[in-house]
């Protein structure tokens, strides 16, 4: 059934000019056919029929780095890529992808719903005031203690959302979070190390210590 969508869905139009099936042409101009075939295969594996829209949106979503998108952003991306569609379609497609396990819906306290194209186990920072979600670097969260599951249940996964806010007193902290992803996000900054940083970071240390019941310096953060 799903063996030959690659040929069926995409007529041979690489060399033809504008005209004909306009949408289809636009897509293939933006997606190399190998990429398109990959997207189609991925959709087929997930049990989704590779319609043109899904292939196009899948190409936008999974082409490149994993990211967090909202339906709005995907809608704009699609328009920018010459594939106009309705906001509702973007939203519905994201939901279909989520149900098929291709993206993960992230619910946070805020009005936007994010979809994460990285469905692997990882955690998130959430800056509520900016409606922004950033991945927590892999391996930087370690659990010292987790509760026993309720009787008859087993724990299958743990999701952590770390809520952040802009440090109010800091003057040069207007840069968005995504710009500082590559700065050192150490696995465990102890209080002294943070204090050495001085300036805005000591505010951070104060906040962190409060959050961890004052046991930060021991390297064990309890009852967060």
């Amino acid at each position: 059934m799903t063996q030959r969508p690659a040929h069926k869905e995409r007529p041979d139009n690489n060399s033809s000019g504008p005209g004909g099936a306009a949408c289809n042409l636009e897509i293939s101009r933006n997606l190399p056919s190998a990429q398109e075939a990959r997207t189609q295969a991925m959709l087929a594996r997930a049990g989704l029929r590779p319609t043109r829209q899904r292939v196009a949106l899948g190409g936008l979503l999974f082409d490149g780095e994993p990211r967090h998108v909202t339906a709005d952003e995907l809608f704009r991306d699609a328009a920018g890529a010459g594939f106009p569609l309705s906001l509702a379609t973007a939203y519905n497609t994201l939901n279909q992808f989520a149900e098929a396990g291709l993206v993960r819906r992230i619910a946070v306290n805020g009005e936007r719903t994010f979809f994460d194209t990285d469905v692997g186990d990882h955690h998130h920072f959430h800056v509520e005031a900016e409606s922004r979600i950033v991945d927590v670097p892999t391996g930087s969260i370690e659990f010292g203690r987790i509760p026993l599951p309720p009787d008859g249940y087993e724990i299958t996964a743990i999701d952590v959302v770390i809520r952040l806010k802009l440090i109010a007193t800091s003057k040069q902290s207007t840069e968005p979070v995504s710009c500082v992803v590559d700065t050192a996000w150490n696995a465990h900054p102890d209080a002294r190390a943070i204090e050495r940083g001085g300036g805005t970071k000591s505010v951070l240390a104060a906040g962190a210590v409060t959050n961890c019941g004052g046991r930060r310096a021991t390297g064990h953060c309890s009852g967060i």
Partner: protein, 154 residues
């Protein structure tokens, strides 16, 4: 629409005063609808509600209101910190009326939340926030499923 949390509304007959206090403290005009919602929400300690489940309750209690009003009120309540959205990676938006710090089990197959006390979870390592940001809180969601369901599937 299913009422997915076990909602036993043995609300101690809360008169209008506390509900309207809650609203006015939060800077909200105590409309009839908000009063009814506040009574349902805050009459009992520690509730997890979704828009659907709260709407069901509202209808059963005979109070006026539409689904969109419930949605808007919950959103407004969460904006001003009266309820908190639980970070469930799923399709249903859950709001928690218990605001002190705690975590959750989430029974995925049943779409149900169970409270976990804050000190039942301890982190041995916490990432430092990006520069210029500080930690507000850490929410941990432990996804669980019935052990026999796993065995049956496997």
């Amino acid at each position: 629409m299913s009422v997915n949390d076990s909602i036993k509304t043995e609300t101690p007959d809360m008169d209008a005063a506390p509900a309207s206090d809650i609203l006015s403290n939060a800077g909200l005009r105590p409309t009839r609808q908000r009063l009814a919602l506040a009574k349902l929400l805050f009459g009992e300690r520690g509730r997890h509600v979704s828009v659907d489940s709260l709407y069901d309750e509202l209808v059963r209690s005979g109070a006026p209101g539409s689904l969109s009003c419930v949605y808007n009120s919950l959103r407004r309540f969460s904006e001003i910190g009266l309820v908190r959205r639980v970070p469930v990676y799923g399709s249903t938006a859950y709001f928690d009326t218990r605001l002190n710090h705690h975590h959750h089990f989430y029974a995925v197959d049943e779409d149900r939340l169970i409270d976990v006390s804050a000190d039942a979870v301890a982190l041995a390592a916490v990432p430092s926030p990006p520069q210029g940001y500080e930690l507000v809180s850490i929410d941990v969601l432990l996804r669980v499923r019935r052990a026999d369901a796993g065995a049956a599937a496997g």
